[in-house]
Amino acid sequence: MASHGVARVSGPNASVRSEELRQKELKQIAAYKDLVDLVNTKETQYTVEVLGLTTKLLNENPEYYTIWNHRRRILLTLLPTGLVQDSPPPKPDPAALDIVNGDLQLTFALLRKFPKCYWIWNHRNWILEKGQSIFDSASALTLWLGELQLVGKMLHSDSRNFHAWSYRRFVVARLELIRTRTPTQQSLTESEFEYTTKMIKSNLSNFSAWHNRSQLIPRLLEERVADSAARRKVLNDELALICTAINTDPFDQSIWFYHQYLMSTLSPQCAPQKMIVRDLSNLDRQKYYAHEMEYIREILDDETECKWIYEALLCCASCYLEVDGGTEAFTTLDMREWLRELKRLDPLRKGRWEDLGRRLDI
């Protein structure tokens, strides 16, 4: 009822199935409906047998959310009553371990086939939460470390899957929570930051990775107890990274959004907890803006047809004007010229550029 990317068959015979195919489909329907009826008549039977039937049905239709609910009701009877998290059991119950592993395998196999199905991700979350409450900390840690590996695999096959990215943040939070009870290092911020670097380096267009990076930076600085010099180094390194990225592909919008993010952290209006450098003077700001404008203008020498360059120049210029009205780094004439280029190169968004001209009063 909501198909994506499936080609339409057209022509005179498009909607006419051969009688053979029709009969085959009718048989499939009958078998499917029989299975659905069988599961539904056993709705109140919380047994291993019915659990097996739900497995069969969910393999045929993982979108059938009621069956996932039914499965959870069965699991709740089969699993030992959850213990409070503060006092994990001394030893995991082998039968419980089997059940949890069974559901992890089921959802893993289904996610390989249906990586965007909300219900499967949701069930995996649920079974892990259950597992966490009935396992000792060592088994729980193994469980969640396995999840980190799994989500790595998922992102390897589709580096933009937002379910997988969301799940990754969730797994990391869980692992960090467990590690607060162990003498090992607690936070995964540094390794997750490294992970985004790795993802970006293999594909600059990965906006999901850039986004996660922007989420990690404030935590990274906090955890490093970074002083002003350390914070300036992080900012400069990020600007250098994005500068290289822009040089590689100035037409990629993911890169420019991250550039905008870095610029927004410079602004006096930026919330203090989101600032990368907290003690910027207006003179510092001017230097940063001027430096950005300088290298972006250099790219302009080779790349006159890229609208993102003009947009970034106007953005930096308007930031600059907020901290210093009487700049010599550029003129109103320059700004008018950039706006004219924007309108020429990007007629789709003409209305936006007209509004921008009015806002900047140029």
Binding site: M1, Y64, T66, F162, S208, N212, R349
Partner: protein, 336 residues
Amino acid sequence: MSLVSGPGRAGMADTPVELQLFVDKHVRYIQSLDTRKDELEYWLTEHLRLNGLYWGITALHLLGQPDALPRQGIIDFLLSCLHGNGGFGAAPGHDAHMLYTVSAVQILATLDAFDEFEERIKGGRKRIGQYIADLQDRETGTFAGDEWGERDTRFLYGALNALSLMGLLHLVDVEKAVEHVHSCANFDGGYGTRPGSESHAGQVFTCVGALTIAGRLDLVDQAKLGAWLSERQLKNGGLNGRPEKKEDVCYSWWVMSSLAMLNKLHWIDGEKLTAFILQCQDPEGGGLADRPGDMVDVFHTVFGIAGLSLLKYPGLQEVDPVYCMPRAVTKRCLGK
């Protein structure tokens, strides 16, 4: 190929073929949806039945054919999906969930059937409201989809949508809900499924919609979000949902409705988008697909048509960008 122009579209005879909306074909396509019981797909998508009905009915109303499906049959079907706790399942025998409960309320509103519903189920409206309200996490303001606890800004929006249509917003902590939405805002001005999640046009629609219902659009970084949304338009005129992704007709709705709520529809090229949406029609069997040449479905059909309505395509009823329902209906329910 038949080039029938739809009702109420006088003067369309001069419209070039590629700019025609095949109204009659779409109406017949939607009417045919419940007759496809000899297709496995019909049974595999039973978990979407109530959503599908909302999509179909909304499309028909926007096409100016509100009576193309039998009203009584629809209301009877809705009641067969209602649970004792006030929630609706996707179809009879399916568990109650926020997603279907919202669709049910939207259908009742569109059919102007709240009084009739109340006659058949005493205190029914209040019970639905309570079901929704009980799914709010009073600590964080967010909403779960059902008793199993998945949380997502889609459910929060759905809750505010349905409750406001029934005049029952006071059952929940709107201020906390607003705080939660605000905590999902990203540096690009957009919103994700939960705090920390990447901006996604579908989620932007739910968050901006929720804030609009709550009267708190002042919390949105409108210039940034408008810019991000306008960059969803690709050279072929279609819109994508995130940077560097492919275009898809359903984003015509998620992106454009958000731009409309921010009063920035003019930040994209409407003519090119109109042409793109129209190319996604199946001119023979009716219905719209995600992209030209793909299989149609009722989900893309309604969001394509609703998109065309926002683009003021001639002959279509006006759509409300906040609710994805006919504006005349939301005016009646909200009194504004």
